[in-house]
Protein backbone atom coordinates (compact mmCIF):
# COMPACT_ATOMS: atom_id res chain seq x y z
CA UNK A 1 0.00 0.00 0.00
CA UNK A 2 1.34 3.39 -0.88
CA UNK A 3 -0.56 5.51 1.64
CA UNK A 4 -1.47 4.29 5.11
CA UNK A 5 -5.15 3.49 5.47
CA UNK A 6 -6.85 5.87 7.83
CA UNK A 7 -8.08 3.76 10.67
CA UNK A 8 -11.60 4.54 11.76
CA UNK A 9 -11.00 3.56 15.33
CA UNK A 10 -8.45 4.19 18.05
CA UNK A 11 -4.78 3.89 17.28
CA UNK A 12 -1.85 4.12 19.70
CA UNK A 13 1.68 4.34 18.41
CA UNK A 14 4.84 4.30 20.53
CA UNK A 15 3.03 5.74 23.51
CA UNK A 16 5.00 6.39 26.69
CA UNK A 17 3.69 7.75 30.00
CA UNK A 18 6.01 8.89 32.75
CA UNK A 19 5.25 10.14 36.25
CA UNK A 20 8.26 11.97 37.58
CA UNK A 21 11.00 9.38 37.51
CA UNK A 22 8.75 6.39 36.94
CA UNK A 23 7.90 5.10 33.47
CA UNK A 24 4.43 3.63 33.72
CA UNK A 25 3.98 2.93 30.02
CA UNK A 26 6.73 2.38 27.46
CA UNK A 27 6.46 2.21 23.66
CA UNK A 28 2.92 0.81 23.46
CA UNK A 29 1.21 0.35 20.12
CA UNK A 30 -2.28 -1.00 19.67
CA UNK A 31 -5.33 -0.49 17.53
CA UNK A 32 -9.05 -0.78 18.22
CA UNK A 33 -11.05 -1.02 15.02
CA UNK A 34 -14.67 -0.08 14.69
CA UNK A 35 -16.90 -2.99 15.63
CA UNK A 36 -14.14 -5.03 17.29
CA UNK A 37 -13.27 -5.70 20.90
CA UNK A 38 -9.63 -5.52 21.98
CA UNK A 39 -8.73 -6.91 25.37
CA UNK A 40 -5.97 -5.27 27.41
CA UNK A 41 -4.70 -7.52 30.14
CA UNK A 42 -1.71 -7.72 32.43
CA UNK A 43 -0.84 -8.07 36.11
CA UNK A 44 -1.68 -5.27 38.53
CA UNK A 45 0.56 -2.31 38.05
CA UNK A 46 1.31 -3.20 34.45
CA UNK A 47 0.23 0.23 33.29
CA UNK A 48 -3.24 -0.52 31.96
CA UNK A 49 -5.07 2.25 33.79
CA UNK A 50 -2.27 4.71 33.06
CA UNK A 51 -2.68 3.86 29.43
CA UNK A 52 -6.38 4.52 29.25
CA UNK A 53 -6.00 7.62 31.41
CA UNK A 54 -3.62 8.78 28.70
CA UNK A 55 -6.13 7.99 25.98
CA UNK A 56 -8.83 9.99 27.74
CA UNK A 57 -6.46 12.86 28.38
CA UNK A 58 -6.41 12.66 32.16
CA UNK A 59 -2.65 12.30 31.97
CA UNK A 60 -0.41 13.47 29.19
CA UNK A 61 1.82 11.21 27.11
CA UNK A 62 5.55 11.70 26.96
CA UNK A 63 6.14 10.05 23.59
CA UNK A 64 4.22 8.65 20.65
CA UNK A 65 0.78 9.45 19.35
CA UNK A 66 -2.87 8.60 19.94
CA UNK A 67 -5.28 8.86 17.05
CA UNK A 68 -9.01 8.55 16.68
CA UNK A 69 -10.32 8.21 13.16
CA UNK A 70 -6.95 9.31 11.94
CA UNK A 71 -6.88 12.55 13.95
CA UNK A 72 -4.48 13.02 16.82
CA UNK A 73 -6.13 13.31 20.22
CA UNK A 74 -3.12 13.25 22.51
CA UNK A 75 -2.45 16.48 24.33
CA UNK A 76 -6.07 17.59 24.07
CA UNK A 77 -8.17 18.43 27.12
CA UNK A 78 -10.23 15.49 28.44
CA UNK A 79 -13.57 17.06 27.73
CA UNK A 80 -12.62 17.61 24.11
CA UNK A 81 -11.49 14.02 23.74
CA UNK A 82 -14.89 12.98 25.01
CA UNK A 83 -16.48 15.18 22.36
CA UNK A 84 -14.28 13.60 19.72
CA UNK A 85 -15.97 10.26 20.26
CA UNK A 86 -14.32 8.42 23.14
CA UNK A 87 -16.39 7.28 26.10
CA UNK A 88 -15.33 5.26 29.09
CA UNK A 89 -16.30 3.44 32.23
CA UNK A 90 -14.19 3.55 35.37
CA UNK A 91 -12.51 0.94 37.52
CA UNK A 92 -14.13 2.38 40.65
CA UNK A 93 -17.50 3.33 39.12
CA UNK A 94 -17.93 7.04 38.64
CA UNK A 95 -21.62 7.65 38.35
CA UNK A 96 -23.28 10.95 39.24
CA UNK A 97 -24.47 9.32 42.43
CA UNK A 98 -26.99 11.77 43.80
CA UNK A 99 -28.57 12.37 40.38
CA UNK A 100 -31.21 9.98 39.13
CA UNK A 101 -30.72 7.17 36.64
CA UNK A 102 -32.41 9.12 33.87
CA UNK A 103 -30.06 12.08 34.28
CA UNK A 104 -27.03 9.82 34.42
CA UNK A 105 -27.92 8.30 31.08
CA UNK A 106 -28.73 11.56 29.36
CA UNK A 107 -25.62 13.17 30.88
CA UNK A 108 -23.67 10.82 28.67
CA UNK A 109 -25.04 12.74 25.72
CA UNK A 110 -23.91 16.07 27.12
CA UNK A 111 -21.98 16.91 23.99
CA UNK A 112 -24.85 16.05 21.72
CA UNK A 113 -27.56 18.50 20.92
CA UNK A 114 -30.32 15.94 20.73
CA UNK A 115 -32.73 15.80 23.61
CA UNK A 116 -33.16 12.54 25.46
CA UNK A 117 -36.77 11.71 26.12
CA UNK A 118 -37.88 8.82 28.23
CA UNK A 119 -38.11 6.49 25.28
CA UNK A 120 -34.54 7.16 24.22
CA UNK A 121 -33.32 6.59 27.78
CA UNK A 122 -35.20 3.30 27.99
CA UNK A 123 -33.78 2.25 24.63
CA UNK A 124 -30.23 2.85 25.82
CA UNK A 125 -30.87 1.02 29.07
CA UNK A 126 -32.27 -1.87 27.07
CA UNK A 127 -28.95 -2.19 25.26
CA UNK A 128 -27.29 -2.91 28.61
CA UNK A 129 -30.12 -5.13 29.77
CA UNK A 130 -31.35 -2.65 32.41
CA UNK A 131 -35.00 -2.74 31.45
CA UNK A 132 -36.57 -2.79 34.88
CA UNK A 133 -34.62 -0.06 36.63
CA UNK A 134 -36.42 2.90 38.22
CA UNK A 135 -35.50 5.98 36.23
CA UNK A 136 -36.04 8.26 39.22
CA UNK A 137 -33.85 6.36 41.63
CA UNK A 138 -30.57 8.02 42.58
CA UNK A 139 -27.82 6.28 40.71
CA UNK A 140 -25.97 5.45 43.91
CA UNK A 141 -28.97 3.53 45.24
CA UNK A 142 -29.22 0.84 42.55
CA UNK A 143 -27.40 -2.45 42.87
CA UNK A 144 -23.68 -2.77 42.14
CA UNK A 145 -24.14 -4.81 38.98
CA UNK A 146 -26.79 -2.38 37.75
CA UNK A 147 -24.45 0.52 38.43
CA UNK A 148 -21.75 -1.05 36.28
CA UNK A 149 -24.15 -1.47 33.39
CA UNK A 150 -25.59 2.03 33.93
CA UNK A 151 -22.09 3.36 33.40
CA UNK A 152 -21.98 1.55 30.06
CA UNK A 153 -25.35 2.98 29.10
CA UNK A 154 -24.02 6.44 29.87
CA UNK A 155 -21.04 5.73 27.65
CA UNK A 156 -23.34 4.63 24.83
CA UNK A 157 -25.41 7.79 25.11
CA UNK A 158 -22.79 9.92 23.42
CA UNK A 159 -22.80 7.76 20.31
CA UNK A 160 -19.08 7.14 20.61
CA UNK A 161 -16.62 5.70 18.15
CA UNK A 162 -14.75 3.82 20.84
CA UNK A 163 -15.65 2.85 24.41
CA UNK A 164 -12.96 2.13 26.99
CA UNK A 165 -14.14 -0.33 29.63
CA UNK A 166 -12.02 -0.38 32.78
CA UNK A 167 -12.64 -3.68 34.58
CA UNK A 168 -16.40 -3.70 34.03
CA UNK A 169 -16.73 -7.21 35.44
CA UNK A 170 -15.02 -6.53 38.75
CA UNK A 171 -17.13 -7.94 41.54
CA UNK A 172 -19.54 -9.74 39.22
CA UNK A 173 -20.61 -13.37 39.54
CA UNK A 174 -20.46 -15.73 36.52
CA UNK A 175 -24.09 -15.11 35.57
CA UNK A 176 -23.62 -11.35 35.52
CA UNK A 177 -20.34 -11.76 33.66
CA UNK A 178 -22.01 -13.84 30.97
CA UNK A 179 -24.67 -11.17 30.58
CA UNK A 180 -21.95 -8.56 30.31
CA UNK A 181 -20.26 -10.60 27.58
CA UNK A 182 -23.35 -10.62 25.43
CA UNK A 183 -23.89 -6.90 26.02
CA UNK A 184 -20.34 -6.18 24.87
CA UNK A 185 -20.68 -8.35 21.76
CA UNK A 186 -23.97 -6.67 20.86
CA UNK A 187 -22.45 -3.21 21.21
CA UNK A 188 -19.53 -4.25 19.04
CA UNK A 189 -21.92 -5.56 16.43
CA UNK A 190 -23.47 -2.11 16.24
CA UNK A 191 -20.16 -0.77 14.97
CA UNK A 192 -18.59 0.64 18.13
CA UNK A 193 -15.00 -0.33 18.93
CA UNK A 194 -14.15 -1.35 22.49
CA UNK A 195 -10.98 -1.52 24.54
CA UNK A 196 -11.60 -3.87 27.43
CA UNK A 197 -9.31 -3.89 30.45
CA UNK A 198 -10.04 -6.99 32.45
CA UNK A 199 -8.67 -9.56 34.86
CA UNK A 200 -11.50 -12.00 34.32
CA UNK A 201 -10.16 -14.37 31.66
CA UNK A 202 -13.55 -15.95 31.02
CA UNK A 203 -14.87 -12.58 29.91
CA UNK A 204 -11.77 -11.84 27.87
CA UNK A 205 -11.94 -15.18 26.08
CA UNK A 206 -15.63 -14.81 25.29
CA UNK A 207 -15.83 -11.14 24.42
CA UNK A 208 -12.56 -10.18 22.75
CA UNK A 209 -11.50 -10.54 19.14
CA UNK A 210 -7.89 -9.87 20.02
CA UNK A 211 -5.83 -9.32 23.15
CA UNK A 212 -2.80 -7.23 24.02
CA UNK A 213 -0.82 -8.14 27.12
CA UNK A 214 1.00 -5.50 29.13
CA UNK A 215 3.64 -6.01 31.78
CA UNK A 216 5.83 -3.37 33.38
CA UNK A 217 4.41 -0.87 30.94
CA UNK A 218 5.38 -2.79 27.81
CA UNK A 219 3.48 -4.99 25.36
CA UNK A 220 4.75 -8.50 25.89
CA UNK A 221 2.32 -10.37 23.66
CA UNK A 222 -0.56 -9.91 21.26
CA UNK A 223 -2.91 -12.28 19.53
CA UNK A 224 -6.17 -14.07 19.97
CA UNK A 225 -7.39 -14.93 23.45
CA UNK A 226 -6.56 -18.55 22.79
CA UNK A 227 -3.01 -17.92 21.65
CA UNK A 228 -2.03 -15.61 24.50
CA UNK A 229 -3.45 -18.03 27.05
CA UNK A 230 -0.63 -20.42 26.25
CA UNK A 231 2.03 -17.81 25.56
CA UNK A 232 4.89 -18.59 27.98
CA UNK A 233 5.78 -14.93 28.50
CA UNK A 234 2.22 -14.14 29.50
CA UNK A 235 1.98 -17.08 31.83
CA UNK A 236 5.22 -16.13 33.49
CA UNK A 237 4.08 -12.54 33.93
CA UNK A 238 0.91 -13.57 35.70
CA UNK A 239 1.75 -16.70 37.50
CA UNK A 240 5.42 -17.42 37.53
CA UNK A 241 7.48 -19.65 35.24
CA UNK A 242 6.16 -23.07 36.25
CA UNK A 243 2.53 -22.79 35.24
CA UNK A 244 1.21 -24.53 32.14
CA UNK A 245 -1.65 -22.35 30.93
CA UNK A 246 -3.96 -19.60 32.17
Amino acid sequence: MAAREIMSGLELDGVAVRYGGVTAVRDVALAVEAGSVLGLIGPNGAGKTSLINAVTGIVGIDAGSIRLGGKRIDGIAPHRIARAGIARTYQNIRLFGALDVRTNVSAGAFTQSKVFDERAVRALLARVDLNEVDLDAPAASISYGDQRRLEIARALASNPTVILLDEPAAGMNPVETARLTSIIRTIAASGIGMLLIEHDMTLVRAACDAVVVLNFGEVIARGTPASIAVDPLVIEAYLGADTVAI
Binding site: P78, Y90, T103
Partner: protein, 275 residues
Amino acid sequence: MISFFTSHSKLFDQLAINALLALSLSVCLQAGQLALAQAAFMGIAAYIGAILAVSAGLPLLPCIAIGALASTLAAMLLALPVRGLRGVFLAIATIGFGEILRIVANNLKLTGGGEGLSQIPSDANTFVIYGALIIVCIALYLLSRTKFALAIALTREDETAARGVGVDTAGVRFWTLALGGAIAGIAGVLYAHSNFFITPADFGFGRMEQILVACVIGGSTSAIGAVVGSIVLTLLPETIRFLADYREVTNGAILLGVVLFAPQGIAGLWRRAKS
Protein backbone atom coordinates in the same frame (compact mmCIF):
# COMPACT_ATOMS: atom_id res chain seq x y z
CA MET B 1 -49.50 45.64 58.44
CA ILE B 2 -47.77 48.39 56.51
CA SER B 3 -46.42 49.86 59.72
CA PHE B 4 -44.96 46.49 60.62
CA PHE B 5 -42.95 46.56 57.43
CA THR B 6 -41.87 50.18 57.71
CA SER B 7 -40.77 49.86 61.29
CA HIS B 8 -38.85 46.75 60.41
CA SER B 9 -37.72 47.88 56.96
CA LYS B 10 -34.07 47.79 57.95
CA LEU B 11 -34.46 44.16 58.92
CA PHE B 12 -36.13 43.27 55.65
CA ASP B 13 -33.45 45.08 53.69
CA GLN B 14 -30.86 43.09 55.58
CA LEU B 15 -32.74 39.93 54.77
CA ALA B 16 -32.67 40.56 51.03
CA ILE B 17 -28.99 41.44 51.06
CA ASN B 18 -28.19 38.31 53.06
CA ALA B 19 -30.23 36.31 50.59
CA LEU B 20 -28.18 37.72 47.71
CA LEU B 21 -24.96 36.85 49.51
CA ALA B 22 -26.16 33.33 50.20
CA LEU B 23 -27.08 32.95 46.54
CA SER B 24 -23.64 34.09 45.48
CA LEU B 25 -22.07 31.34 47.57
CA SER B 26 -24.66 28.80 46.56
CA VAL B 27 -23.73 29.15 42.90
CA CYS B 28 -20.17 28.08 43.74
CA LEU B 29 -21.23 25.34 46.14
CA GLN B 30 -23.50 23.89 43.50
CA ALA B 31 -20.47 23.45 41.29
CA GLY B 32 -18.72 21.70 44.15
CA GLN B 33 -16.42 24.63 44.83
CA LEU B 34 -15.88 25.61 48.43
CA ALA B 35 -14.84 29.12 47.37
CA LEU B 36 -15.12 31.30 50.47
CA ALA B 37 -14.35 34.71 49.01
CA GLN B 38 -17.85 36.10 48.65
CA ALA B 39 -17.45 38.46 51.61
CA ALA B 40 -14.35 39.84 49.93
CA PHE B 41 -16.15 40.30 46.60
CA MET B 42 -18.93 42.03 48.51
CA GLY B 43 -16.36 44.32 50.10
CA ILE B 44 -14.69 45.22 46.82
CA ALA B 45 -17.97 46.32 45.29
CA ALA B 46 -19.13 48.01 48.49
CA TYR B 47 -16.02 50.16 48.67
CA ILE B 48 -16.06 51.03 44.98
CA GLY B 49 -19.75 51.84 45.13
CA ALA B 50 -19.20 53.96 48.20
CA ILE B 51 -16.19 55.81 46.82
CA LEU B 52 -17.96 56.55 43.54
CA ALA B 53 -21.00 57.88 45.36
CA VAL B 54 -19.12 59.95 47.90
CA SER B 55 -16.39 61.44 45.75
CA ALA B 56 -18.03 61.48 42.31
CA GLY B 57 -21.65 61.75 43.35
CA LEU B 58 -22.62 58.83 41.16
CA PRO B 59 -26.22 57.67 41.51
CA LEU B 60 -27.04 54.18 42.71
CA LEU B 61 -27.46 52.20 39.50
CA PRO B 62 -24.10 53.12 37.92
CA CYS B 63 -22.50 52.40 41.31
CA ILE B 64 -24.03 48.94 41.27
CA ALA B 65 -22.97 48.33 37.70
CA ILE B 66 -19.36 49.40 38.23
CA GLY B 67 -19.07 47.80 41.65
CA ALA B 68 -20.42 44.48 40.46
CA LEU B 69 -18.17 44.62 37.41
CA ALA B 70 -15.17 45.10 39.67
CA SER B 71 -16.11 42.22 41.94
CA THR B 72 -16.69 39.99 38.90
CA LEU B 73 -13.27 40.84 37.53
CA ALA B 74 -11.75 40.14 40.93
CA ALA B 75 -13.44 36.74 40.94
CA MET B 76 -12.11 35.96 37.49
CA LEU B 77 -8.62 36.97 38.54
CA LEU B 78 -8.86 34.80 41.64
CA ALA B 79 -10.16 31.85 39.61
CA LEU B 80 -6.91 31.56 37.71
CA PRO B 81 -4.36 30.85 40.45
CA VAL B 82 -6.75 28.64 42.42
CA ARG B 83 -7.93 26.56 39.48
CA GLY B 84 -6.01 23.49 40.61
CA LEU B 85 -7.23 23.58 44.20
CA ARG B 86 -10.04 21.53 45.61
CA GLY B 87 -11.90 21.08 48.87
CA VAL B 88 -10.31 22.45 52.00
CA PHE B 89 -7.32 23.82 50.07
CA LEU B 90 -9.56 25.94 47.89
CA ALA B 91 -11.44 27.10 50.96
CA ILE B 92 -8.25 28.18 52.70
CA ALA B 93 -6.85 29.92 49.64
CA THR B 94 -10.02 31.92 49.16
CA ILE B 95 -10.17 32.78 52.86
CA GLY B 96 -6.57 33.99 52.58
CA PHE B 97 -7.50 36.12 49.58
CA GLY B 98 -10.27 37.70 51.63
CA GLU B 99 -7.99 38.39 54.56
CA ILE B 100 -5.37 40.01 52.37
CA LEU B 101 -7.98 42.31 50.88
CA ARG B 102 -9.32 43.17 54.32
CA ILE B 103 -5.86 44.13 55.53
CA VAL B 104 -5.25 46.17 52.40
CA ALA B 105 -8.49 48.04 53.00
CA ASN B 106 -7.43 48.56 56.61
CA ASN B 107 -4.30 50.35 55.48
CA LEU B 108 -5.16 52.37 52.40
CA LYS B 109 -6.11 55.99 52.71
CA LEU B 110 -8.47 55.55 49.75
CA THR B 111 -10.59 53.17 51.77
CA GLY B 112 -10.39 55.19 54.93
CA GLY B 113 -8.23 52.68 56.74
CA GLY B 114 -9.65 51.02 59.81
CA GLU B 115 -12.23 53.77 60.20
CA GLY B 116 -13.74 52.93 56.85
CA LEU B 117 -15.94 55.19 54.80
CA SER B 118 -18.93 57.09 56.02
CA GLN B 119 -21.57 59.46 54.75
CA ILE B 120 -22.48 57.09 52.00
CA PRO B 121 -25.79 58.22 50.51
CA SER B 122 -28.58 55.92 51.58
CA ASP B 123 -30.16 55.71 48.17
CA ALA B 124 -30.72 51.97 48.25
CA ASN B 125 -34.29 51.72 49.46
CA THR B 126 -36.29 48.56 50.01
CA PHE B 127 -37.71 48.58 46.50
CA VAL B 128 -34.34 48.70 44.83
CA ILE B 129 -32.94 46.02 47.08
CA TYR B 130 -35.83 43.65 46.54
CA GLY B 131 -35.87 44.54 42.87
CA ALA B 132 -32.26 43.43 42.63
CA LEU B 133 -33.00 40.23 44.54
CA ILE B 134 -35.91 39.43 42.23
CA ILE B 135 -33.85 40.10 39.13
CA VAL B 136 -31.04 37.86 40.37
CA CYS B 137 -33.54 35.14 41.25
CA ILE B 138 -35.10 35.32 37.80
CA ALA B 139 -31.69 35.19 36.19
CA LEU B 140 -30.70 32.16 38.23
CA TYR B 141 -34.01 30.51 37.42
CA LEU B 142 -33.43 31.00 33.71
CA LEU B 143 -29.92 29.67 34.14
CA SER B 144 -31.29 26.55 35.80
CA ARG B 145 -33.09 25.64 32.59
CA THR B 146 -29.93 25.67 30.53
CA LYS B 147 -27.36 23.02 29.79
CA PHE B 148 -24.88 25.00 31.87
CA ALA B 149 -26.92 24.11 34.95
CA LEU B 150 -26.52 20.43 34.11
CA ALA B 151 -22.81 21.00 33.64
CA ILE B 152 -22.66 22.55 37.11
CA ALA B 153 -24.41 19.55 38.68
CA LEU B 154 -22.20 17.05 36.86
CA THR B 155 -19.06 18.93 37.87
CA ARG B 156 -20.18 18.82 41.46
CA GLU B 157 -21.09 15.15 41.48
CA ASP B 158 -17.93 13.82 39.91
CA GLU B 159 -15.48 16.07 38.16
CA THR B 160 -13.60 13.28 36.38
CA ALA B 161 -16.73 11.62 35.06
CA ALA B 162 -18.06 15.02 34.02
CA ARG B 163 -14.96 15.62 31.92
CA GLY B 164 -15.40 12.12 30.59
CA VAL B 165 -18.81 13.00 29.16
CA GLY B 166 -17.52 16.22 27.64
CA VAL B 167 -18.14 18.87 30.31
CA ASP B 168 -15.56 21.64 30.42
CA THR B 169 -15.25 21.53 34.19
CA ALA B 170 -12.55 24.18 34.32
CA GLY B 171 -14.93 26.50 32.51
CA VAL B 172 -17.73 25.64 34.91
CA ARG B 173 -15.57 26.46 37.89
CA PHE B 174 -14.41 29.72 36.34
CA TRP B 175 -17.85 30.97 35.38
CA THR B 176 -19.56 29.99 38.62
CA LEU B 177 -16.91 31.83 40.59
CA ALA B 178 -17.37 34.84 38.33
CA LEU B 179 -21.14 34.68 38.74
CA GLY B 180 -20.74 34.42 42.51
CA GLY B 181 -18.52 37.48 42.38
CA ALA B 182 -21.12 39.41 40.40
CA ILE B 183 -24.00 38.61 42.75
CA ALA B 184 -21.90 39.31 45.84
CA GLY B 185 -20.91 42.58 44.23
CA ILE B 186 -24.51 43.65 43.75
CA ALA B 187 -25.16 42.81 47.39
CA GLY B 188 -22.09 44.77 48.41
CA VAL B 189 -23.07 48.02 46.73
CA LEU B 190 -26.61 47.70 48.09
CA TYR B 191 -25.16 47.11 51.54
CA ALA B 192 -22.96 50.18 51.36
CA HIS B 193 -25.78 52.34 50.07
CA SER B 194 -28.12 51.33 52.84
CA ASN B 195 -25.76 51.37 55.77
CA PHE B 196 -24.32 54.90 55.81
CA PHE B 197 -20.83 53.62 56.69
CA ILE B 198 -18.66 50.59 56.00
CA THR B 199 -15.46 49.30 57.54
CA PRO B 200 -13.11 46.50 56.47
CA ALA B 201 -14.36 44.37 59.36
CA ASP B 202 -17.78 44.23 57.69
CA PHE B 203 -16.33 42.03 54.96
CA GLY B 204 -14.06 39.68 56.86
CA PHE B 205 -14.13 36.06 57.85
CA GLY B 206 -16.98 36.66 60.29
CA ARG B 207 -19.26 37.74 57.46
CA MET B 208 -18.07 34.84 55.34
CA GLU B 209 -18.92 32.40 58.12
CA GLN B 210 -22.44 33.85 58.34
CA ILE B 211 -22.97 33.44 54.62
CA LEU B 212 -21.67 29.88 54.74
CA VAL B 213 -23.90 29.00 57.67
CA ALA B 214 -26.95 30.44 55.89
CA CYS B 215 -26.26 28.29 52.85
CA VAL B 216 -25.71 25.14 54.84
CA ILE B 217 -28.79 25.59 56.98
CA GLY B 218 -30.91 26.15 53.92
CA GLY B 219 -29.35 23.44 51.83
CA SER B 220 -25.98 23.92 50.24
CA THR B 221 -26.77 22.60 46.80
CA SER B 222 -29.86 24.57 46.04
CA ALA B 223 -30.53 28.22 45.35
CA ILE B 224 -33.86 28.09 47.13
CA GLY B 225 -32.06 26.62 50.10
CA ALA B 226 -29.71 29.58 50.13
CA VAL B 227 -32.60 32.00 50.30
CA VAL B 228 -34.44 30.02 52.95
CA GLY B 229 -31.30 29.67 55.03
CA SER B 230 -30.61 33.37 54.94
CA ILE B 231 -34.20 34.11 55.93
CA VAL B 232 -33.88 31.81 58.90
CA LEU B 233 -30.51 33.21 59.89
CA THR B 234 -31.65 36.83 59.62
CA LEU B 235 -35.00 36.46 61.33
CA LEU B 236 -34.07 33.91 63.96
CA PRO B 237 -32.21 36.31 66.26
CA GLU B 238 -35.27 38.54 66.15
CA THR B 239 -37.83 35.87 66.83
CA ILE B 240 -35.91 34.40 69.70
CA ARG B 241 -34.89 37.76 71.06
CA PHE B 242 -36.62 36.82 74.24
CA LEU B 243 -33.97 34.22 74.81
CA ALA B 244 -31.55 37.16 75.15
CA ASP B 245 -28.27 35.84 76.47
CA TYR B 246 -28.90 32.43 75.05
CA ARG B 247 -29.29 33.71 71.52
CA GLU B 248 -25.79 32.85 70.41
CA VAL B 249 -25.76 29.45 72.00
CA THR B 250 -29.06 28.76 70.28
CA ASN B 251 -27.60 29.85 66.93
CA GLY B 252 -24.71 27.49 67.39
CA ALA B 253 -26.95 24.69 68.57
CA ILE B 254 -29.30 25.12 65.60
CA LEU B 255 -26.37 25.05 63.22
CA LEU B 256 -25.09 21.89 64.85
CA GLY B 257 -28.55 20.39 64.81
CA VAL B 258 -29.02 21.03 61.12
CA VAL B 259 -25.60 19.62 60.28
CA LEU B 260 -26.12 16.49 62.30
CA PHE B 261 -29.74 15.73 61.59
CA ALA B 262 -30.56 17.48 58.33
CA PRO B 263 -27.35 17.68 56.34
CA GLN B 264 -29.19 18.59 53.19
CA GLY B 265 -30.50 21.56 55.08
CA ILE B 266 -34.04 22.77 55.22
CA ALA B 267 -34.44 22.36 51.47
CA GLY B 268 -33.45 18.74 51.88
CA LEU B 269 -36.01 18.19 54.62
CA TRP B 270 -38.63 19.66 52.33
CA ARG B 271 -37.66 17.36 49.50
CA ARG B 272 -37.74 14.35 51.79
CA ALA B 273 -41.12 15.35 53.14
CA LYS B 274 -42.54 15.65 49.65
CA SER B 275 -41.46 12.17 48.48
